[in-house]
Amino acid sequence: MALAPKSIKLSAPKGIEIQWNDGHQAFYPHAFLRTRCPCAACRDHPPEVKTDPDPLPIYGKGPIKATGAEQIGHYAIQFHWNDGHSSGIYSFAYLREICPCDECQSKRLG
């Protein structure tokens, strides 16, 4: 079976939890995923994101956060961010490739 997430939890504190169908559990901080948006515009000019609470919250939207997500066909996820951006289509393969956990990191280095 092709590698795909089983469930995606957007409400996890400070990030997104993905349970993969091969049993791997991944955690992606919001800012980590937002800055790695694969859309053409973000690839050319990586976005600057706020990770800390706004000192004057009345003027901003607070720290970056995914507000929604949609499954794209059989192969990808599209996230909606609270900065208004939503054009990035994160393929399953890409999401797995950038998994920030120690295990995946060391696999990539080794």
């Binding site: 795909a4 995606i8 957007l10 409400s11 499954q71 794209i72 059989h74």
Partner: protein, 364 residues
């Protein structure tokens, strides 16, 4: 007493054990393990049951009925057997329906790399063959550049507008939509990507498809905007790739297969169209484009081979008349070729549905 009782009263276990010897020839598994046995009733020596298949009732299913009756009759004490057939087309295991088309159980894209291999002809006849054996079928013509479904199906009445959605014309029980209905004759669609994307979304979401077992989608050739939009907008059940036996066509078909693989869309298999030609004068067979190329490609790539459709004047004339050849009774060999194709496609859909992963659960 115990013996006497055993003689007179049948037990359910014995009937199920007998039925376990009956195979579904399309799914290659016995009908008990497949969970097809419904309403099993025993009364005295009488056994009645329904076999509920998860695909249309093709002629092969009548064989199953006969075999099941025969198997149950062999059980000592059985005096009468009544087995009826039913069909409830499966959808993806354990998944919620797609929000855009919640009433559609399966979506089958008919694709090819190369143009002119007979995608639309295959799509129309596939839809007819599925409907002929009891399925509820829709046919979406996503070939914006050469919308041929209205002519092929002989359906020229345009869709009407309902209260909220487009009401598709229905011909021979098949609901149709095509960009051909929205264009004056002799006009062409000259659109860029975003327009095409919107059209795909509207054809899926804004058309009142009603309850459908299969939505057959006729794609334009190639691996462009329409194909990508379709694969993004809905998780397709799978794709049927049409090719002629010619190396040139198979070479291009492999590009379409590569695209579906990249997008994790299941390949239901490859169908070989224009597979051979039988001369109506001398009866000699000529393999105009070669023969067996699609089968070989399937073996090499590990895809199911869905069947061969011959090159035939009858297919051409009936297509031009808007009376696709699959409408004919099962006795004509060409009509049978399409029935076999539909059976192979429906089998692959059933097999895929049984093992497909459910949609991803997204918790907000």
């Amino acid at each position: 007493m115990g013996l006497f009782k055993k003689d007179r009263e049948l037990d359910e276990g014995a009937v199920l054990a007998a039925l376990q010897n009956v195979q579904d020839p399309d799914l290659n598994q016995d009908i008990v393990s497949l969970g097809f046995i419904r309403n099993l009733k025993l009364a005295g020596g009488m056994v009645s049951s329904t076999i509920e298949f998860n695909m249309p009732l093709f002629p092969s299913k009548r064989q199953v009925q006969l075999q099941a009756e025969e198997a149950v009759k062999q059980i000592p004490g059985v005096t009468e057997v009544l087995i009826s057939l039913a069909s409830s087309i499966s959808t993806r295991a354990g998944s919620e329906r797609n929000p855009l088309i919640p009433t559609v159980r399966n979506t089958i894209a008919v694709a090819s790399g190369k143009g002119g291999v007979g995608k639309s002809t295959v799509a129309a006849n596939l839809a007819i063959a599925l409907a002929k054996y009891g399925a509820r079928v829709g046919l979406m013509d996503a070939d914006v550049y050469g919308p041929s479904i209205p002519m092929l199906m002989g359906a020229f009445d345009p869709p009407s507008v309902g209260t909220a959605k487009i009401l598709p014309p229905e011909i021979r029980g098949i609901k149709l939509i095509s960009v051909g209905y929205f264009l004056p004759k002799d006009e062409a669609v000259i659109w860029r990507g975003p327009m095409l994307h919107k059209m795909v979304q509207q054809f899926l979401g804004d058309v009142d498809w009603g309850e459908l077992d299969y939505l057959v989608i006729d794609l334009p050739p190639g691996t462009g905007d329409i194909q990508l939009s379709l694969c993004q907008t809905i998780p397709l059940t799978g794709a049927v790739v049409v090719s002629t036996p010619q190396d040139l066509a198979l070479e291009v078909a492999s590009k379409a297969i590569a695209m579906f693989k990249r997008l994790n869309t299941p390949i239901l298999g490859i169908a070989e169209n224009m597979s051979y030609y039988v001369c109506p004068h001398c009866g000699d067979r000529d393999d105009i484009f070669g023969h067996g190329g699609a089968r070989k490609a399937c073996e090499k790539g590990g895809y199911p081979f869905l069947g061969e459709i011959p090159l035939s004047t009858l297919i051409r004339t009936r297509s031009d008349q808007g009376q696709p050849v699959a409408l004919e009774d099962g006795d004509s060999p060409i009509s049978r070729a399409f029935t076999d194709l539909a059976r192979a496609v429906a089998s692959q859909v059933s097999l895929n549905n049984a093992q497909a992963a459910p949609l991803i659960s997204i918790e907000e």
